[in-house]
Amino acid sequence: MKHLLSTEDLSLSNAIRILDTAEEMAAVGDREVKKLPALRGRTVVNLFFEDSTRTRISFEAAAKRLSADVINFAAKGSSVSKGESLKDTAQTLSAMGADAVVIRHWASGAPHRLAATDWIDAAVINAGDGTHEHPTQALLDAFTMRRHWARLAGTGSEGADLKGMRVAIAGDVLHSRVARSNVWLLRTLGADVTLVAPPTLLPIGVEKWPCKVSYNMDETLEQGADAVMMLRVQGERMNASFFPSTREYSRRWGFDDNRLRALDTLGMKDTIIMHPGPMNRGLEISAAAADSPRSTVLAQVRNGVSVRMAALYLLLSGDTREPAATPALAYAGTHSTKESN
């Protein structure tokens, strides 16, 4: 694994390896000194073409806990007409000796361009590209679900997948990179996914995806769900006629107080409610749902740092150019750091 660009092409063994490594990283976060020397002397650039404070600081915390040097590069508007091109930016970072580039871009496929061209030789991590993918978000979601699923089963989560887990993902699937990355990763991990959305917010071609599709939130809940993931919906979509009003959206597809109560009525005491944040309280999720004990919103944030540590560690220390990185993690667990692919 040289880059982490998408979950669509992430193998089961690599997915499990990242999740298992993240468990080890999580243990570091519980210690008084939350730091490992694994990436000392390596440079990680957070290249953000789109504002996302949450994702950037999560990656920044992850890289710093691994002792990497972190450079934050907020590049606004990369168009040829407006300023420096992606190519020039990449070559500049390459000349500065970046070992990994964490890229957030409004254009789908921008991380693929960095990885496929000879503009830069660094490891590329996709931190969200357009409406394409957000693989570390899906990994942290899977990490959160796996812990929950293992706890219910009374087993450990190391090496485990998500076979049999029923996951409903609800909201603006059409514009959601989080939904796409989750659908592919959850398929790979063996979960049963149902997308719930108004037909206008599902892409043409969704029928070929490895999941079920529903237009009805209540029916989906009645059929049973172990995790319900609410996607952020932008109120402005209403102006482009994706739905008539935010209130109608909220009534039909939001996770409101009635549906929170319905989980109890239906006897689904272990169902968790997830959200990638930032939340629109009162639109796709009610305050009561967001703050309920079922909510994993803050656990997801916490797990995000562990998952991103794992991704950075595996991509950078798997590189034969830096064999010294291998023993650094030795006390956090024993496993091969040599990547076969």
Partner: protein, 444 residues
Amino acid sequence: MAANTGTYLIQGAAILGGEPADLLIRDGVIAETGSGLTAEGATVIDASGLVALPGMVDVHTHLREPGREDAETVETGTRAAALGGYTAVHAMANSTPVADTAGVVEQVFSLGQAAGWVDVRPVGAVTVGLAGEQLAELGAMADSRARVRMFSDDGICVHDPVLMRRALEYVKAFDGVVAQHAQEPRLTAGAQMNEGEVSAVLGLAGWPAVAEESIIARDVLLAQHVGSRLHVCHVSTAGSVEIIRWAKERGINVTAEVTPHHLLLTDDLVRSYDPVYKVNPPLRTDADVQALRAGLADGTIDVVGTDHAPHPSEHKECEWAQAAMGMTGLETALSVVQHTMIDTGLMTWADFARVTSTAAAKIGRLEDQGRPLEAGEPANVILVDPAARWTVDPSRMATMGRNSPFKGRELPGKVVATFFKGHPTVLDGRLNTPFRHAASVGAA
């Protein structure tokens, strides 16, 4: 009479892929055909194994001049055309300034004459500045030295139904044709690629087939209503083929074109996010490719048009969404059409001559192009080696554009010679010298 035409004796070329025969070219015309011809002082060309065809006519070329000489010039674009087997190209109107006045079309026409590689027939804009608001002076362009017959806002759809109706009606006055870029603008706002299975996965905004088909359906009905001539540019979907087939069955005067890239490539290539595959209309699905091939073979689609669209490298070396739309095509069209239509058994070389030359010249009303290879006809002739195979290398092309989607592909068929008005612009597969127009050299 031009200064540099000579006498050429082509021996043993398969005429339109049929029986071998000799062609004697003298003073710009085919002087004689037959077997065992001799001619004093003629340059003899051994054409055994080669196919003789009428010079190709492109109904859809972007030469970029005036305005974007960093992308292409009339000189470089027509060199590429000659190498690709063309003796005439229609230069699209989306230059800077737009070819919406007699002055601009005459400039492009003159540049073409001065270059001397092919006939350059400017296409006039339908609306002023391609803005879709007010008709350009179509009559003035028709009456100009450039004798414009084809009008198009290509790149932009004439989407206002009233404006389209008026344009179709108005060009009847001078036997013109409106070439429509069929793209419903509201259905394609921000569109990046074909809308379907692949766009769903890639998260790129979709360009649905219905946005093309709904405009074509409207336009053929308008053409029928006002009794005018409509040409549909770069048809890209199976549904469009069906609508055009239906229209032709009803006797509506519509012609249609398909690009070589839509005959071969599909939207699966977009998975690479490499903008060399970004084009408008977008690459579609394999089902569309097969329908387009069938439509071209059965005559529903009349012609192959390249939509040759060179771009500077910085417009492709970027994010997909930032990249310009378009592909080069002049130097690969013959090979791609041979590969997709002839080597598959769907068409003969005689059919090839129809879709790349005869029918195209008729649409553009070019009297001296697309003619039979017979005595007395203008000597616009090409010789093709159908057995040759070559690997596409954009860096070696005559066009300034390096944006060929066929880069690295091995393709069949090579243009060995191109005769333009009896003068070899291409010999031995290499650029020779341009034709010199006796009267107009000084004009440009």
